[in-house]
């Protein structure tokens, strides 16, 4: 029997930290919702509602639908191939295909716009090869809605790839063998057994794709696609009406919530829990020569489009410019300082929440839900919440207040990402160690510090890295809250790109991508080791 520790051994004051953590995270969200509902009906809102809202809504929906479709096409078949078959380069692609996650959407948008523009290398090569002039052919325009969806899918498909791959790996090989012994061909086994069983995992990955795509500001703005997030920043910047922006945020949140509910409903009663408990190394089927080359070509194409071409272009551009015309070092220092502060703040909140999960009190649940909703909410929306909170305080948004607000927004947005590795570290430790500590006479207080904390800290390095890099990549909130003339790498890249100075934007964009590679490589290293049922 498990003792309910919270029932009698945890006095109320021990719950205070987790309550505070939950409130700190929930506050901006609640403020946005309330202000959006209560006082959003100004002149700007009337204008937006009558002329822009429908465009924003349709734009966002189209981007989300196309991005989701592309991410599925990119992520699921490749995950299936690297999990179930042998073909040249399989082991390499297994982790290479995760790398595109490192570059934020706006960086990819800059690189692709540069690559695919009329003066870019792709079209130049086409003209050289064919002798056509620029007016003789059609070339896909990256500054378009499908272009935005393509760019977002390129950087976000790894979420689907990762979750699908994990699901394919962990599903019972026996189930697939049973299907084949019942006369199902390899392709029917995929469509009617493996895919339905992996569906919830794929849906979870897709939900991340949708959230990130909905939250994107930089790429949409740069490629000129009207989306809700784009509209939110614009309503705040051009019309100076945070309340109107909050109303738009409200629409966006409703949209995200709808996706979540629709998916839950569609899942229905069908089980997804594998009834199989026996694991065996997946016997990968050799694809043979022709099909193997096809698989290699598919993975190579995807990796080239999503990573090699755009990142290679950034490297090329940075080398070409040789640092001329780009000021990055001050921005780098600012980025490191700000992301460090935001990550530290988020880290403390994440640690408090992770430690409270064991206690299972209602406050812990509240804090966790707050953290995961914060993660789902676009940075632009959270920035609005922070602005609204500041407006009721006796301070003005200037200098260091803006930086504190930014650290706060980062913490709200990313705490969930930090909670996860630490909660996982705690979950890996047997439940009984807490009881063992208690039976040895440790007080709950000592148990927390002498047992739970050191255990959670084994996941701390990963958590800190993820938090730092996420904060480093963040653009819209940083743009809205930073002090005047105080740039981070993301803001600097954005500013150069907005001025059509892509060559100058390349270096900061590249630096962000390189920083982004660190946690992604850590992640791919971890997934290449962990496999249930693998040799223990």
């Amino acid at each position: 029997m498990e003792l309910k520790a919270s029932a009698f051994s945890a006095p109320a004051f021990r719950q205070i930290p987790v309550l505070l953590a939950g409130l700190v995270i929930a506050l901006p969200v609640v403020i946005v919702l309330v202000s959006g509902l209560a006082d959003g009906s100004g002149a700007a809102w009337t204008h937006i509602r009558e002329t822009l809202l429908l465009r924003y809504l349709i734009g966002t929906l189209c981007v989300l639908v196309i991005t989701a479709g592309l991410a599925l096409l990119m992520g699921v078949p490749t995950a299936w191939l690297v999990t179930m078959f042998r073909f040249p380069g399989r082991g390499l692609f297994e982790w290479l295909l995760v790398l595109p996650l490192a570059a934020p959407g706006y960086v990819l948008a800059y690189a692709w716009a540069d690559l695919a523009g009329v003066a870019g290398p792709l079209q130049a090569a086409l003209r050289d090869a064919t002798g056509w002039s620029a007016r003789d052919y059609w070339f896909p325009d990256i500054s378009s809605l499908p272009g935005l969806a393509f760019v977002l899918a390129c950087t976000l498909y790894p979420y689907v790839y990762l979750t699908a791959r994990a699901a394919f790996i962990s599903q019972s090989v026996c189930t697939m063998e049973a299907a084949r012994s019942l006369g199902a061909s390899a392709s029917r086994t995929f469509w009617s057994v493996a895919l339905p069983a992996a569906r919830p995992a794929i849906a979870a990955g897709l939900a991340l794709v949708l959230m990130e795509a909905a939250a994107d500001y930089g790429a949409a703005e740069f490629l000129g696609v009207p989306t809700l997030t784009f509209g939110i920043v614009r309503a705040w910047k051009s019309f100076g009406e945070p309340a109107a922006a909050a109303r738009l945020a409200f629409v966006l949140l409703a949209l995200i919530l709808t996706f979540v509910i629709v998916e839950r409903q569609a899942r229905g009663r069908a089980g997804t829990q594998q009834s199989s408990t026996r694991w065996r190394q997946i016997p990968r089927v050799d694809l043979g020569r022709t099909a193997g080359m096809g698989a290699t070509a598919l993975c190579t194409t995807l990796f080239t489009l999503a990573f090699v071409l755009p990142v290679g272009r950034l490297v090329w551009r940075s080398l070409e410019a040789g640092g001329q015309g780009t000021r990055v070092w001050d921005a780098l220092a600012n980025s490191v300082m700000l992301a460090g502060a935001g990550a530290a703040f988020a880290f403390i909140l994440a640690l408090i929440i992770a430690l409270s999960i064991r206690a299972k009190g209602p406050l812990a649940t509240f804090a966790r839900i707050a953290a995961s909703s914060g993660y789902a909410i676009p940075g632009a929306v959270l920035a609005l919440g922070a602005l609204a909170a500041i407006s009721v305080l006796p301070v003005t948004l200037s200098g260091s207040i803006g930086l504190v607000a930014l650290a706060w927004v980062y913490a709200v947005r990313f705490t969930a990402a930090g909670t996860e590795p630490m909660a996982a570290a705690l979950a890996r430790a047997p439940k009984s160690i807490g009881h063992a500590a208690q039976s040895l006479g440790a007080s709950p207080f000592r148990r927390t510090f002498a047992v739970d904390l050191p255990v959670a800290m084994s996941g701390a390095a990963a958590a800190a890295l993820v938090l730092f890099v996420e904060a480093l990549k963040e653009l819209p909130a940083t743009l809205m809250l930073r002090p005047f003339n105080w740039d981070t790498l993301a803001v600097r890249a954005y500013a150069y790109a907005s001025d059509e100075r892509l060559a100058a934007a390349a270096l900061p964009a590249l630096m962000i991508t390189m920083a982004g590679l660190l946690p992604v490589i850590l992640l791919s290293w971890q997934i290449s080791r962990a496999r249930p049922g693998g040799p223990a």
Binding site: S172, C174, T175, R180, G183, S185, G271
Partner: protein
């Protein structure tokens, strides 16, 4: 179609180590053969070879006169018409019990498939659970769905990998009964992998003993138990007392031979017998009592009824039941 499933010299190597080594075995329709062996004996690999999940490195697998596997040519599992039942059932979690059973019936017209599903669901007593999902079923129900699913396409043979080991012992008796009678009624060759000699003896018509990839012996259950071809085969089905050399009392040497193996229940207490022993320990094993007996230069284990079991320290005579005593040529 009811045809024999014939394995001839079937061999499978993993990196030069033969996990299945020259196995020749003939499975007859309507007969359940238990494939018995310890862990690592190659039982599951042999099963996978027959199912077509792995290729053979030597030998052939034939169903009637139709070759399923030979080196370099493996008929795909989905083309073999061989049913598989897994230890963990491997039900499709996203399909109801009825749709699990119907999974292998896609080639049939819808109404005929529905009838077939009804038939098998009813036969295994699952009619009221047809619309439940696997996670809503008990272990025994899941097992019966797995069996109905494997039998519904009317396969030409059926393979069962430790089919009852995942079940609660209290439950497995009744499930086993229902399952195996359905398998027998299908009148096809059936192979049941198990590591439990009692399960093999109780349920199978014949027993094949596998050890280190080699077939030690194969035959009717009764024959294999009473006339094992080797000490290893004898041990695979239960414990054996072994006496050899000078340890064998002279009376038994002339009666049985110079090397003797005898099952504990074949060691009979008989006050008049010339070979004398002393009871050194007496333990309950449930239905019977296990005695440790010490004679001049030898020790024996004996299983006797509670009524017949003497106290520790008692001196008595023993003789051996010829039906449970084996001699081995060279071991």
């Amino acid at each position: 179609m009811t045809a024999n499933l014939d394995l001839t010299g079937v061999t499978r190597r993993y990196a030069d180590r033969a996990v299945v080594d020259g196995v020749t075995l003939s499975l007859k329709p309507g007969e359940i053969t238990a494939l018995l062996g310890g862990s690592g004996a190659g039982k599951s690999t042999l099963l996978r070879l027959i199912a077509g999940l792995e290729p053979v490195d030597a030998g052939t697998i034939q169903l009637g006169n139709h070759t399923l596997s030979e080196p370099g040519r493996t008929l795909a599992p989905e083309k073999r018409r061989i049913g598989l039942i897994f230890q963990d059932f491997a039900l499709f979690p996203h399909l109801t019990a009825a749709r699990n059973v119907g999974f292998g019936l896609k080639h049939l017209p819808r109404d005929i498939a529905a009838q077939r599903i009804q038939h098998w669901i009813g036969m295994l007593g699952l009619s009221d659970r047809a619309e439940a999902y696997p996670h809503e079923l008990s272990g025994g129900e899941q097992q019966r769905v797995a069996i109905a699913r494997a039998l519904a396409p009317e396969p030409d043979a059926i393979l069962m990998d430790e089919p009852f080991s995942g079940l609660d012992p209290a439950l497995s008796g009744s499930v086993r009964e229902a399952a195996l009678s359905a398998v027998r009624a299908a009148n096809i060759p059936a192979l049941m992998v198990t590591h439990d000699p009692a399960e093999a003896l109780e349920n199978a018509d014949s027993i094949a003993i596998l050890s280190h990839g080699r077939l030690l012996q194969c035959g009717a259950a009764d024959d294999v138990y009473r006339r094992p071809s080797s000490l290893a085969a004898a041990r695979a089905l239960g414990s054996v007392n072994v006496l050899s050399g000078t340890a064998v009392p002279a009376e038994w040497r002339t009666l049985h031979g110079p090397e003797i193996g005898v099952r504990p229940e074949g060691v009979l207490l008989d006050a008049q017998a010339p070979v004398r022993v002393r009871v050194t320990s007496r333990r309950l094993t449930g239905p019977l009592v296990r005695l440790a007996l010490e004679g001049p230069g030898f020790t024996l284990q004996s299983l006797v009824s509670h009524e017949a079991a003497p106290r520790t320290g008692t001196e008595t005579g023993v003789r051996l039941d010829p039906a449970l005593t084996f001699t081995f040529a060279s071991e």
